[in-house]
């Protein structure tokens, strides 16, 4: 887990920074991006092993970001975060290549379990 690098993407700054700190306390290297454009830029500069991506963001929405990641970095698994009323987006995201989706608020143990599964499935690893 120490070598694992996760990129969290969410426009809710307080949410994403707190979640990042909790992951770091568990030994997971975590970077954050607050919008889709920033996420794409960070991935191009320093690809993470996994992306945790909010579906509903202003500007480039989560599903659009997912499409970009799957087109340019297909080996990076993506876990989507959905809210109420957007679970349909989670299922759409799965069809677009997302590894899984979780509904917010989430249990950190569930997120870590999904991250471990996604990475151990062999699709993790910087491209």
């Amino acid at each position: 887990m120490e070598d694992l690098k996760v990129l969290l993407v969410d426009d809710e700054v307080e949410f994403v920074s707190t979640l990042a700190e909790r992951l770091r306390l568990r030994g997971i290297q975590t970077c954050i991006a607050n919008d889709g454009e920033e996420a794409i830029r960070q991935i191009s500069v320093d690809p993470p092993q996994i992306v945790v991506l909010d579906v509903m963001m202003p500007g480039m929405g989560g599903l659009k970001v997912l499409e970009r990641i799957k087109a340019d970095y297909p080996a990076i698994p993506v876990i989507l975060l959905t809210g109420i009323g957007t679970t349909q987006d989670g299922m759409t995201g799965m069809r677009l290549g997302a590894f899984d989706y979780l509904m917010k608020p989430l249990q950190i143990e569930d997120l870590i379990e999904r991250i471990e599964k996604a990475v151990s499935k062999g699709s993790g690893g910087a491209v």
Binding site: F15, T18, E21, R22, P105
Partner: protein, 223 residues
């Protein structure tokens, strides 16, 4: 509902859906913040944090209330999408559960509990989801004003025939006050007769004998 009412309902639904989504984001931040405090607490020694037990209890309370808030927001979000829901198959067990949840506070203010006794299988009817919830809500409200404090009102969906489904409303616990009051079904509005022209679904309300106060039977006209 006429077109104007439908537009108003759709507007209110849309706004409520947006607000409940934001509420859930707020709850997610509270949850993660409380979680981070729990993490930090776990990392600190007893000497550093003499009030550990008290803090743990308070953080646990915050977590419980977040769960409650998420449930409320989720139910309200589901409710807010009713005006734009097309007539589709509905499970009366789920509809009854949703109505009980939404009516819970009004009942609690009168010291009355609400619950659902679901049918063993799904009870599917095809009708307008908003209208049926309004109907059941009105029925629950009527009973809440009749039964006494301490009573429990139960909604019990049943599938009697393939073409007919029923919801029984009964009460237990304190019916003494209630039996002195007449069940006035005229208090219910006219649209209680669900007239879906395309679906020909009707709701027939029949008074029963306490503890079963009345039955609402959903069936196709002529069926």
């Amino acid at each position: 509902m006429n077109a104007s009412d439908s537009n108003k309902a759709a507007f209110m639904g849309r706004i409520t859906a947006g607000v409940t989504h934001e509420l859930k984001n707020v709850l997610a931040i509270i949850k993660e913040s409380a979680g981070l405090m729990q993490d930090l607490l776990a990392l600190s020694g007893d000497a550093q944090f003499p009030l550990r037990e008290k803090f743990s209890k308070v953080l646990s309370n915050i977590g419980d209330q977040v769960v409650r808030g998420v449930d409320l927001a989720s139910r309200l979000n589901t409710f807010s999408h009713l005006p734009d829901a097309t007539s589709s198959g509905l499970d009366l067990n789920e509809v009854a559960g949703q109505v009980v949840f939404l009516s819970q506070r009004f009942a609690r203010l009168k010291g009355i509990s609400l619950n659902v006794q679901p049918h063993e299988r799904s009870v599917i009817i095809v009708t307008d989801s908003l209208k049926i919830q309004m109907l059941l809500f009105q029925c629950v409200e009527l009973l809440v004003n009749i039964v006494g404090t301490g009573a429990t009102i139960t909604l019990h969906p049943l599938q009697q025939r393939e073409s007919e489904a029923t919801v029984e409303l009964s009460s237990t616990g304190n019916n003494e006050t209630a039996t002195n009051k007449a069940l006035d079904l005229t208090a219910l509005p006219e649209w209680i007769e669900l007239q879906e022209s395309a679906l020909s679904l009707k709701a027939r309300i029949e008074p029963g004998n306490p503890p079963v106060w009345f039955r609402i039977t959903f069936g196709h006209a002529g069926g």
